[in-house]
């Protein structure tokens, strides 16, 4: 049995087990959930450490046939692209389970849904079978809707539930049609991703098929990742969600679409990818600039964080759009870093909401004095969000910009401005409003995270951000070989299609500049020290 099966299996088994626990055994229910996610996390850390860097192919593989006639099998395995994502997912899931003490009603159902969601997400990232990839994502997605609908907060809860359900279901189903069409058009008669990739390399998809399927995947996955202009579900949805759900969704589940683009859309449909990446580069400016601008106008801390999380997706899209080794590596690093960051900020805002009952920034103020630990953590999270060196986000963003500069100088210039100016402006202004200034009298009674258990999830997420921020080599050396393979597949045969295009010539030469990029990467990474 592969450790991956255990990583995704424990939460699911615990969820089934919880069904049979009477609902008034609250401590046991909570303990089971925390323990299951804790075991998953330990196994994920162990797997991350045992991962052999640079080894060709997938590691920790396991394959069980499921439907032979259609070529569907349960197939899990990791390479450099998803090993970090699984580690991040498992850590965030544990932190989310720890933060779930804020749920006071119907705990049993909540923890069951949380565990199903955890197992589904980790499974989706571990899966090397297109069908299970989608199946497990859907398994994780549906609990999100129920959790927002039932345990959500705010007056617009029902509207938010409705909106997020519609948006994400449409996105997921468009992606499903794209995946089925991909399976049918490839003619490989298998849902197995490695086999499919191999087959498509030998028999490339026809150009019309690529041009039809790629936008389905791009926009299907794009809706799931809140690609501008399909992002409007995200701020309100996260603002209304209970914080563990927002942590898991914004942190982990949202990365599914990005991972799908990198793992499936780019290597299998290189020609269409070449074409669409030009458009994607401009769309991602919508995320960075427009949504950043919207974030500046927010008066509610959660809506601000939600918008900033959408804005961060822009950097990842920019990295993917650059279609070169440095850019894609950077995109994967931001995916991981943003997972920790989003979970941290939503967890902290959830704590503040539970203490004060509001997240309107006009009413808050001076909380750093009353909540030293939470306040300090929130400030660090905000600085990480602005891209301060030392945090993992900086590494990712700077890598993406190096990668994208060669292909889209204008877009990168604008995006840099968005990242440095807009991001810093709204984040720091929000921190001033929330943490500094005089303490309103009504907040005299609130208390900081008192014991280790309460502090643990936030400390864990902060530590992860710092570890990967100070030692980015832990990630980059794992990611680059496999990102290189993806980029190689995505850029081959490109010359014939878009000959004469300066940017594509630039991209073709990208793999040859690998060592150069690697050097820059390392220099960027060592800068904060």
């Amino acid at each position: 049995m592969s450790p991956l099966t255990y990583i995704l299996g424990w939460p699911l088994i615990a969820a089934i087990g919880l069904v049979f626990v009477p609902r008034n055994y609250r401590v046991i229910i909570r303990a089971v959930a925390v323990l299951a996610t804790f075991i998953s996390m330990l196994l994920a850390v162990k797997m991350f450490c045992q991962f052999v860097t640079g080894q060709a192919g997938y590691q920790f593989e396991q394959q069980i046939p499921w439907v032979q006639s259609l070529g569907i099998s349960y197939h899990v395995g990791v390479d450099g692209l998803n090993v970090g994502l699984i580690l991040m997912g498992a850590i965030v899931a544990f932190a989310a389970a720890c933060c779930s003490f804020e749920i006071q009603s119907r705990e049993k159902e909540f923890y069951i849904l949380l565990l199903v969601m955890t197992g589904g997400i980790l499974g989706a990232f571990a899966s090397l079978d297109l069908f299970f990839f989608y199946f497990l994502h859907e398994l994780a997605l549906v609990p999100t809707f129920i959790m927002i609908g039932v345990w959500g907060r705010g007056e617009r809860k029902n509207y938010a539930t409705f909106q997020i359900t519609l948006y994400l279901s449409v996105g997921a189903l468009i992606a499903l049609i794209g995946l089925i069409a991909l399976y049918l058009q490839s003619g490989a008669n298998t849902f197995d991703i490695p086999k499919l990739t191999e087959y498509v390399q030998a028999h490339p998809l026809a150009a019309p098929a690529q041009n039809f399927i790629f936008p389905l995947l791009l926009f299907g996955f794009g809706i799931l990742v809140s690609l501008w202009p399909f992002h409007t579900w995200a701020p309100l949805g996260y603002g209304s969600a209970p914080s563990p759900t927002a942590m898991l969704h914004a942190g982990v589940l949202k990365k599914f679409g990005l991972y799908g683009l990198i793992r499936i859309a780019l290597p299998l449909m290189p020609q269409a990818a070449q074409h669409w990446m030009q458009i994607l580069a401009w769309l991602c400016l919508g995320n960075i600039l427009y949504v950043g601008w919207v974030a500046m106008r927010q008066r509610n801390l959660n809506l601000l964080i939600g918008n900033s999380s959408v804005a961060h997706m822009g950097f990842i899209f920019l990295g993917i759009a650059s279609l070169n080794l440095i850019g894609v590596t950077g995109a994967v690093i931001i995916m991981i870093a943003h997972g920790f960051l989003a979970a941290l900020t939503f967890g902290l805002s959830g704590y503040i909401y539970r203490q004060t009952g509001t997240l309107e920034m006009d009413e808050l103020g001076g909380l750093a004095r009353k909540l030293p630990f939470i306040g300090a953590a929130l400030l660090m999270a905000a600085l990480a969000g602005c891209g301060l060196p030392g945090f993992a986000n900086f590494v990712g963003e700077v890598t993406v910009f190096f990668g994208a500069w060669k292909v889209f100088p204008l877009v990168t210039g604008l995006a840099l401005w968005g990242a440095l100016m807009i991001g810093a402006l709204y984040m720091l202004r929000a921190m001033r409003n929330v943490l500094h200034g005089p303490v309103p009298e009504k907040w005299a009674g609130i208390s900081d995270a008192s014991n280790v258990w309460r502090k643990l999830p936030y400390a864990l997420l902060l530590a992860s951000l710092l570890v990967f921020g100070c030692f980015p080599r832990l990630l980059t050396e794992k990611i680059t070989p496999d990102a290189g393979k993806i980029v190689e597949m995505a850029t081959e045969n490109a010359g014939g299609l878009v000959a004469g295009d300066a940017s594509s010539r630039e991209r073709e030469s990208a793999p040859s500049k690998q060592s150069d990029g690697q050097r820059r990467l390392t220099s960027a990474a060592t800068e904060p020290k």
């Binding site: 439907v67 006639s69 199946f135 497990l136 398994l139 549906v142 129920i146 449409v170 069409a181």
Partner: protein
């Protein structure tokens, strides 16, 4: 002539007669237990049938025992067993003649068994009439309730109308081609592809079948009849009668007139798309649970038509697969409705409030059924919809209409999430305070029924391999 081929049908009819006769000798208070006896007898027949599947034809090719026939016969018997269990639970709402109710279910089953084997227009008409006429009675069985009588009358009028269309269509087909047997018709159908009278006849036959499966524009009866009929009747109507319509539709389109139906992709796509949208949109405002499921069953007829419209073997296999998941899902839902709402005047969704406290098993079953109907993993409905979509997209290269149809189906699925989740919300998080929090007593057989439905939903959803192979094998004998 090979009588052994129809031994199953003979035994089922004999069972129906025995049930009627038993009414004379059974004391009134024990008669409800006859339902268990009937279900047990059917279970024995099912087990015996699993062993041997002699194939062949009988009565000069009128009756055929082949892959689809065997598959659907087992399907119908399983459905009838679960419906009989439900009927026993429902028996205290039926003032008199409960054993007649059981025997009518068994007679309807025999009609479905004949329908599964029909290979001739005369056989098709007779089996459909056997099903429909018994359902007229089954629908209006609660003579004391006005809605039940109203539903019966509506079903009678519209059913008689559709039968008239169908028999007229059969007459036209016979008049132009001189053939009633499907295999013989298939040989000559190509020559008549341009004959307007022949085509009119075929269209009228399909109108009659469209009425059985409640496809647009012949769906008007479904919500009213679903709402008014006694719950076990509704359940059998939703599963058995619809499946019988589909097996006949598959036979007519793909055995009798394959050369003609190959050109009917566009009409089928349009009907399927409109049926999906109509069913799902009309279900949105419904507050009556049985009426909601009536509209949902229209939508599901649309989904099933996806597989028919694909005009391919994988589409047909997807239809069979989807129906088998649908069987457990719908029967699970109706069993819960029957147990919770049998003493209520109307089946308003608000009656579900607090169900998770009154009976966790019932709440779980209904939740899983709704999740499966909505097509969410890991339940049966997800993989079924996946197969149907795959079958439709496979044909996308030949006709771009199939892509439109796939997106229509997708829109339908998204719309349906709203009302299926509405039901789940009513169970767990109802706004209005539950009127009644008394625990619901479940008899042993009722628990078994629910357990079978849950197991079926999970089994078909999580281990699709066996059922998919069965379905793929079964459709091989449909000529396409």
């Amino acid at each position: 002539m090979n009588l052994s081929l129809i031994s199953l049908e003979i035994w089922v009819i004999a069972l129906g007669l025995v049930l009627m006769l038993a009414d004379f000798w059974m004391p009134a208070e024990r008669r409800r237990l006859l339902g268990y006896a009937a279900a047990a007898a059917l279970a024995v027949l099912l087990v015996l049938n699993l062993g041997h599947c002699a194939t062949g034809t009988a009565f000069n090719g009128m009756f055929v025992q082949d892959g689809p026939a065997v598959f659907f016969k087992r399907f119908f018997i399983v459905a009838a067993i679960l419906v009989l269990f439900m009927a026993v639970e429902f028996s205290d709402c039926i003032t008199s003649g409960i054993s007649e109710y059981y025997s009518l279910i068994v007679f309807a089953l025999s009609g479905m068994l004949f329908a599964a084997s029909a290979n001739n227009f005369a056989m098709l008409f007779v089996s459909i009439e056997l099903i429909t006429v018994t359902f007229y009675v089954l629908t209006s069985f609660q003579r004391g309730r006005l809605v039940s009588l109203e539903a019966g009358v509506k079903y009678l009028i519209l059913g008689a109308l559709s039968s008239a269309f169908m028999v007229y269509g059969i007459a036209l087909v016979w008049g132009t081609t001189g053939k009633l047997n499907f295999n013989e018709l298939a040989l000559v159908a190509g020559q008549f592809a341009g004959n307007k009278i022949f085509l009119l006849g075929m269209v009228l036959v399909l109108v009659g079948l469209g009425f059985k499966i409640a496809a647009f524009p012949f769906q008007i009866w479904a919500p009213d009849v679903y709402q008014g009929a006694p719950t076990p009747t509704t359940a059998f109507l939703a599963v058995g009668s619809k499946a019988a319509g589909f097996v006949l539709l598959l036979r007519v389109l793909f055995t009798a007139i394959p050369s003609v139906s190959a050109h009917w992709a566009n009409p089928l796509i349009i009907i399927s798309g409109i049926t999906i949208l109509y069913g799902n949109l009309c279900a949105l405002p419904q507050r009556n649970l049985k009426r909601l499921l009536g509209y949902s069953s229209i939508a599901h007829a649309g989904y099933l038509l996806l597989g028919v419209a694909a005009l391919s073997a994988s589409g047909q296999a997807a239809v069979l697969y989807y129906l088998s998941g649908y069987l457990f899902t719908v029967l699970g839902a109706f069993t819960v409705i029957c147990l919770v709402m049998r003493h209520l005047d109307n089946e308003d969704i608000s009656a579900l409030a607090g169900l998770n406290q009154r009976s966790p098993l019932l709440a779980t079953t209904l939740t899983l059924a709704m999740v499966s109907l909505a097509g969410i993993p890991p339940m049966a409905g997800f993989f079924g919809k996946f197969l149907l979509l795959k079958a439709v997209l496979e044909q996308g290269a030949t006709n771009p209409g199939y892509y439109c149809l796939a997106f229509t189906a997708l829109a339908g699925v998204v719309i349906s999430l709203y009302y299926y989740f509405g039901v789940i919300r009513a169970i767990y998080w109802s706004q209005d305070a539950p009127a009644d929090l008394s625990p619901i007593f479940l008899s042993g057989p009722a628990k078994v029924t629910l357990a079978i439905c849950i197991a079926g939903m999970f089994w078909i959803g999580l281990f699709p391999n066996a059922m998919l192979n069965l379905a793929t094998e079964a459709v091989k004998s449909l000529k396409m």
